[in-house]
Amino acid sequence: MSLDASSRGPNIGAFVRRRRASWERLHALAGRVDTGTLSLAEVEELDRLYRRAAGDLAHARAAFPGSDAEGYLSQVTARAYASLYRRRRARPGAARDFVARRIPETFLAHLPLFGLAAAFLAAGMAAGALAVAFDPAAAASLVPRAVRDAVAGGRMWTDSLLGVAPGVEGSLIAHNNIAVTGLVFALGLTGGIGTAWLLFANGLLLGAVAVHCVQRGLGRPFFSFVAAHGPAELLCVLLAGQAGFLLASALVAPGEWPRGEALVRRGREAARLLALVVPLLAVVGVVESAISPGATFPGPVKAGLGALLAAAVLLYLVRPAARARAAA
């Protein structure tokens, strides 16, 4: 700190008093952007005040570093910047565009990763099914005890699902599905190893349980149970697997970007897939708890519903490609 009295710098109080009114006006205008009540003149005023505040901030940073005035200006300018440069969310076309084009395009752009996820799940299912088919005793280690006990008693373990309030049950199932699906996605951060393992493990369980039920004469009720929600649920898991492998690809093969940056970019793409998976899982959870258990709905109806649900989602995902081919 200089002791030369003449060089202590400009007076910060005078600076703030001179400009404060316009900063506060800027703050008020920026706060009203969200409500959409600004007149054209006020929008122009906002823009002008914002530019001046940005200049004031540069001055404050040089002349009064670390002061409350600088902190306040930084916050107000950032607020106005956010209001002026926000991507308009109210534009009705944006949401429609996101649903109608962005999600399917992301799916198609990374189709091989979807295939990879399907391969791991299918390999697990084949392994589980073959193991129990050739050696029924393998069920002891591959099929959960609760399921084995129920099957040994000649009943489906899912019958008990109807015993509690379906609404509550549905939400619990959705929670569980989302947790598993989220894990399949997030384990992409292990370079895809965790995602591949989880897909394989789930396939293993599914294959083993299916064959075990068939061997004990419960094949019909089992397939009747999974027919309605199974296809869509598997689709959810595979899409989450695709998203997980997308994350993994950023770590394994980031291309021209640094890994952190690649992770953010592909993370955003993966999020588009999740934006489809999460609501779809909610639907699956409702079907699984309300329609799948018991014999309220006949088997063929469930199978038809399940096929329809999965087909509709697949059709939605490949539609842009079909349309592009038709246009070509």
């Binding site: 202590r8 306040y72 609404g167």
Partner: protein
């Protein structure tokens, strides 16, 4: 301003903005507040609902559509509370507002729907592990980002309440130090005035002994510089008030 990590970004106008990054404490407070709010909501809802009699039977008696709606509502409060608030309320949930923090993108723009979904869905990994990965990630990363923040390209910044009234021109000056008028600006650098007004604002919260000691220390240092001669310990605070007032009344109106 704090000396902790900052988010610094440049606007298209070449203005460099920097915001203070929020730490573990604020984020935990926000999370717990939101949790309490959701809990309170459900307790109230279930309480009101249970006035109608046997809760479970009534749920079972609902039509299929109503059951779906009930399930969806339950589902929504748990998983989409954060997404909806963050998207529609400029990156704040009620808990975050309480804690004075806000979610922004790493380029300073407000958080969008997609980013909010990513950062919140990834809680699926952290919740089963009692948030340990999240706490570790916030503690260890340079900009205090949770796992979901890294994936979504977002971070949480502090929303501070600045009070500009400290710069306001005061009324009368204590006549004993009227000589300070016109000389305070030469005695104080802007940073000195900041520290001085910090002290004047915070002194009610200080212990009396510490407050008197601090006041006389600052006063004796600044009195010499302002050429005001010796200031007794009892006069320390009135002197500092006068000095700050004299400084703030110089220059433009």
């Amino acid at each position: 301003m704090s000396t902790g990590p900052q988010l610094t970004f440049e606007t298209p106008e070449r203005a460099v903005l920097s915001l203070d990054v929020a730490g573990l404490g604020g984020r935990a407070l926000a999370y717990l507040s939101d949790l309490a709010l959701i809990f309170l909501f459900w307790v109230t809802a279930l309480l009101l609902y249970s006035f109608g009699g046997d809760l479970l039977r009534r749920v079972q008696e609902l039509s299929a559509v109503a059951q779906v709606v009930a399930a969806a509502a339950f589902f929504c409060t748990g998983w989409t509370w954060d997404v909806l608030w963050e998207t529609l309320w400029r990156g704040q949930t009620p808990g975050k507002r309480l804690a004075g923090i806000r979610v922004v993108r790493t380029d300073g723009a407000p958080v969008g729907f997609v980013e909010s979904v990513v950062r919140n869905v990834s809680r699926a990994v952290e919740l089963p592990l009692l948030y340990a990965p999240g706490v570790l990630a916030v503690a260890l990363t340079r900009r205090h980002q949770r796992l979901g923040d890294v994936l979504a390209g977002t971070l949480v910044v502090k929303d501070r309440a600045y009070d500009l009234s400290r710069y306001a021109a005061p009324g009368a000056l204590d006549p004993r130090w009227s000589a300070l008028r016109g000389r305070a600006g030469a005695a104080l650098a802007p940073a000195d005035f900041e520290r001085l007004s910090d002290f004047l604002r915070r002194r009610p919260a200080l212990a009396p002994a510490a407050r008197a000691r601090l006041a006389s220390k600052i006063a004796s240092a600044l009195a010499a510089r302002a050429g005001a001669g010796d200031v007794s310990q009892a006069d320390a605070e009135p002197f500092l008030e006068a000095l700050a007032a004299a400084y703030a009344s110089e220059g433009a109106p």
